[in-house]
């Protein structure tokens, strides 16, 4: 194991107990340089699987000892006939739940959104800034009994990195030298990079970087449940897109898992979900509306509230009028009443934000002041920009809970500053006009800062709604700073660079980020083992692949 080696990966401290100040970035958490992630010596013992939840999901509190049995029925909204099953791809929320039943990643995030080597790799080391070595844990088998080997890992990464496969993670493989991944031995893989990238470990822990066996193909291709073979705890038994999928426990699983079966059912509407949960027709549901949390408590339903780094931004394209003038962007950011919006949309569940993202990143710029509503200053900014009585269309869609409401509420708040915002709710928004609009609403989940920049704030990003960074003048060196940060091996220096990047975005960026939302899920009181997680997925990463939860 690596702890005796070069010690390039710093030891990861596990945050104990419910965290204070939920989302304040934990400086004592692992510090990740270009040399990557380190692993705690204690983690070496994880393979055996005597503890219920190696990756931070365990709860040894009053829940009692976990026991086997039962059919866990999960109701999920947001699905439809386009539902799919692929170890490395999703289009809907039920797809996320399905993916984690059967597929696992090399590294994993714990509930504090810190990287852990509890996954399929016992180590991921940076040999130098442009080369990583992945060492696979021993004794892991796929659900058909075949042992996991280096070939599978290579196949998996190359499948994601092949553009024509159109997989979710493709953009994140940009720095990987996909063609030249080499097998060192059966359990060791060498991953060369095209350019230095310290975010590789985080990328490998993203849930869409599931490890699939050589020759794997999506359900839509094979149409055969028995071909959906991963290393995860549950094996696909049946799947009807838009309706339901049933998963059975894999007895050769390398960790513990408790349910006999997991059933994932599509719902069209939260009210039906809540009713089904109250009536015992399902055991858990995703996305309990915030304004229902208090109400459901009386009927034996428990709410799992996880403060995440998810955000619903209002996006101003910085190169399109009227937002090509930084004063107008600044005015908009002063018009919004963040506290009121958090009350209205989140019923207070969430954390006020200040137009910056990635709050769990160690490099999050905490010291920048919060932004308060200031209508007078906004008005004078608009006046000096010659944009008094501004009228503008704000485009939104029903892509994620709160997107339409945010637009409506912001429009009503803007009236105070004499700005007339017309909300355009367009069902074909993402298909037809996304990324081409001056003023729009979007949604994002939890990510590290540099990963997020790579996704949404660079000229090469696939989802750059604000057309950031500026092509000239202040902030135009944002892209260079990003590359420096990626290659920077010294943590403090990297944080400094990140602060400079965030200062640009804070001063003249195109995002209005009112608050970081909470993921709120509902579950019956007989479901044990759930505790809040800062990660992207609902129900604490769907009970960490449905293995750290059980029936009392």
């Amino acid at each position: 194991m690596t702890e005796s080696g070069e010690q390039r990966w710093r030891v990861i401290e596990r945050a104990e107990g419910p965290s204070d100040g939920l989302w304040t970035p934990s400086r004592r958490g692992m510090v990740m340089g270009a040399s990557g992630v380190a692993m705690a010596a204690t983690l070496a013992a994880c393979g055996g699987g005597s503890a219920p939840a190696p990756s931070g999901g365990e709860s040894t509190d009053a829940a009692g000892a976990p026991k086997k049995g039962g059919n866990f029925r999960l109701g999920v909204t947001g699905g439809g006939s386009k539902d799919m099953m692929d170890g490395q791809n999703i289009v809907t929320k039920p797809d996320q739940a399905r993916l984690v039943t059967a597929f696992e990643t090399l590294l994993e995030f714990d509930d504090e959104y810190q990287l852990q080597t509890t996954g399929l790799a016992e180590s991921v080391e940076a040999d130098n800034p442009k080369q990583y070595t992945i060492r696979i844990r021993d004794g892991i088998t796929f659900q058909d009994g075949k042992p996991l080997t280096a070939d599978d890992v290579i196949y998996s990464l190359q499948r994601i990195g092949t553009q024509k496969n159109g997989l979710t993670g493709y953009a994140a493989t940009a720095t990987m030298d996909i063609k030249n991944i080499k097998k060192v031995d059966d359990r060791t893989v060498r991953l060369p990079l095209l350019s230095a990238d310290s975010t590789i470990p985080q990328t490998l822990a993203s849930y869409t970087f599931g490890i699939v066996p050589v020759g794997y193909e999506a359900f839509s291709v094979t149409k055969d449940p028995s071909k959906q073979i991963g290393t995860g705890a549950y094996k696909l038994k049946s799947f009807t897109p838009g309706q339901e999928s049933v998963h059975e426990r894999y007895d050769g699983y390398w960790r513990d898992a408790w349910f006999d079966t997991v059933t994932i059912t599509d719902f069209t509407d939260a009210t039906a979900q809540i009713n089904a949960l109250k009536g015992g027709q399902i055991d858990a549901m995703t996305d309990l509306p915030a304004n229902q949390v208090e109400a459901v408590k009386s009927s034996g339903v428990e709410a799992l509230i996880s403060q995440t780094g998810g955000w619903i931004p209002i996006c101003m394209a910085i190169d399109m009028p009227p937002f090509d003038d930084p004063k107008v962007r600044q005015a908009m950011r002063l018009i919004i009443d963040r506290k009121q919006i958090l009350e209205q949309l989140g019923s207070g569940y969430g954390q006020i934000a200040k137009d910056l993202y990635a709050p769990f990143d160690e490099g999050y710029y905490d010291d920048l002041p919060e932004r308060e509503q200031d209508i007078d200053q906004a008005k004078s900014l608009l006046k000096s920009a010659g944009k008094e009585g501004l009228a503008v269309d704000l485009h939104t869609t029903n892509g994620a809970a709160g997107m339409v409401e945010l637009a409506s509420v912001f429009a009503s708040q803007a009236k105070a500053a004499g700005v007339k915002i017309t909300v355009k709710n367009d069902p074909n928004y993402y298909g037809d006009s996304y990324l081409k609009l001056a003023f729009s609403v979007d949604f994002w989940g939890t990510r590290g800062y540099l990963n997020q920049v790579q996704q949404g704030s660079l000229p090469t990003s696939p989802y750059n709604e604000t057309h950031w960074p500026p092509k000239s003048g202040t902030g135009s060196d944002f892209g260079d700073l990003y590359k420096q940060a990626l290659a920077e091996t010294d943590t403090n220096k990297r944080i400094e660079i990140q602060h400079q990047m965030q200062k640009y975005e804070y001063d003249i960026g195109g995002y209005i980020i009112p608050y970081f939302n909470s993921l709120i899920d509902g579950h019956s009181s007989k479901v044990k083992g759930l505790k809040p997680s800062k990660g992207t997925l609902n129900l604490a990463g769907f009970g960490h692949g449905f293995r750290t939860i059980w029936f009392a």
């Binding site: 509306p289 304004n291 229902q292 949309l345 019923s347 409506s408 069902p427």
Partner: protein, 302 residues
């Protein structure tokens, strides 16, 4: 399909009285019935609420009061707050106008269109009749809510799309009834007489035929209005209103129904309003139908 040949039309149950009753006389006579009076009063009250409501609302339609679904006592309001923390009573008072205006406009367009097509078809008695009614059949093959749903999904939830979709689906249904009611009138001698007098077709259609079918048409119009209100609120319930967060009775039901168990006013008020409104128009239609059919003649009450 039934409209060609001599298969009975939907309206056959409603025979027109002879001699023709003027529409104002028909209304006045129908108002002697208690059910028409109650219907008129209900409708009037709801229309009043919808039109005057915004003027008397205690709060603005987008004025934040307290956390979503706060009780009346805690938020110091009459009915508490809604899903966005706005005042339920004010949202209710604001929320009738749009639904009523859209329903009335779309129904009016549909009824006028349908009556014209039905009369022309009934009077033509030839290939034009067949063609018109076949065309109506094609449109009618799509259920109203389905056509509206597809149209709204295609073009987006804009008010004019909803109006067009409802008018378009209302017209053929009205046309069928109009044609069915007009057919026996066309067969009568006095129409032949007016033709012999060389009266213009337009005058025959609207001067002679139309007054004779006003009874069933008024019944049909109120029935269609009832349907339109239901379709518009159902679209809103499915999340397809033009502005999903503007005050609107249909949207209010959808967004506030989750709190029906503990903050019921947000959904119950609009449910009651829509139910009473459709009941009112239904009662008026019923009253006119009874009067026109000569039932309860000169009785004045039930």
């Amino acid at each position: 399909m039934s409209a060609t040949e001599s298969a009975p039309a939907l309206a056959e149950g409603v025979e027109t009285p002879t001699p023709p009753v003027r529409s104002s006389a028909l209304l006045a006579r129908s108002l002697r019935l208690w059910r028409t009076r109650i219907g008129a009063i209900l409708t009037l009250i709801l229309v009043l609420v919808a039109l005057v409501g915004p003027l008397v609302a205690p709060h603005g339609s987008a004025e934040f009061i307290a956390k979503p679904f706060t009780s009346a006592a805690a938020s110091n309001t009459v009915f508490g707050t809604d899903y966005l923390g706005y005042d339920v009573l004010s949202r209710f008072l604001y929320g009738g106008r749009s639904i009523l205006v859209i329903a009335v406009i779309s129904t009016a367009i549909g009824v006028v269109l349908g009556v014209v097509i039905g009369l022309v078809a009934a009077y033509a008695r030839n290939a034009l009749d067949d063609i018109l009614m076949r065309a109506m059949d094609v449109i009618m093959a799509f259920p109203q809510i389905m056509l509206a749903l597809v149209a709204v999904s295609l073009v987006g939830a804009k008010n004019w799309v909803i109006v067009v979709a409802i008018a378009l689906t209302t017209a053929p249904r009205v046309a069928r009834v109009a044609r069915g009611a007009a057919q026996p009138v066309v067969e009568r001698d006095f129409i032949g007489a007016t033709e012999a007098m060389g009266m213009s077709r337009v005058r025959i259609l609207f001067g002679e035929l139309l007054p004779n079918i006003l009874g069933p048409m008024m019944v049909e119009a109120t029935l269609r209005l009832t349907y339109s209100i239901a379709v518009i609120s159902a679209l809103a319930f499915l999340g397809l209103a033009a502005n999903p967060d503007a005050p609107n009775w249909g949207t209010m039901i959808q967004k506030n129904q989750g709190a029906l168990a503990y903050q019921p006013a947000g959904a119950l008020l609009p449910i009651l309003a829509i139910a009473l409104l459709t009941m009112g128009t239904g009662l008026i239609g019923d009253g006119i139908a009874r009067t026109a059919a000569g039932i309860d003649r000169e009785r004045g009450d039930e």
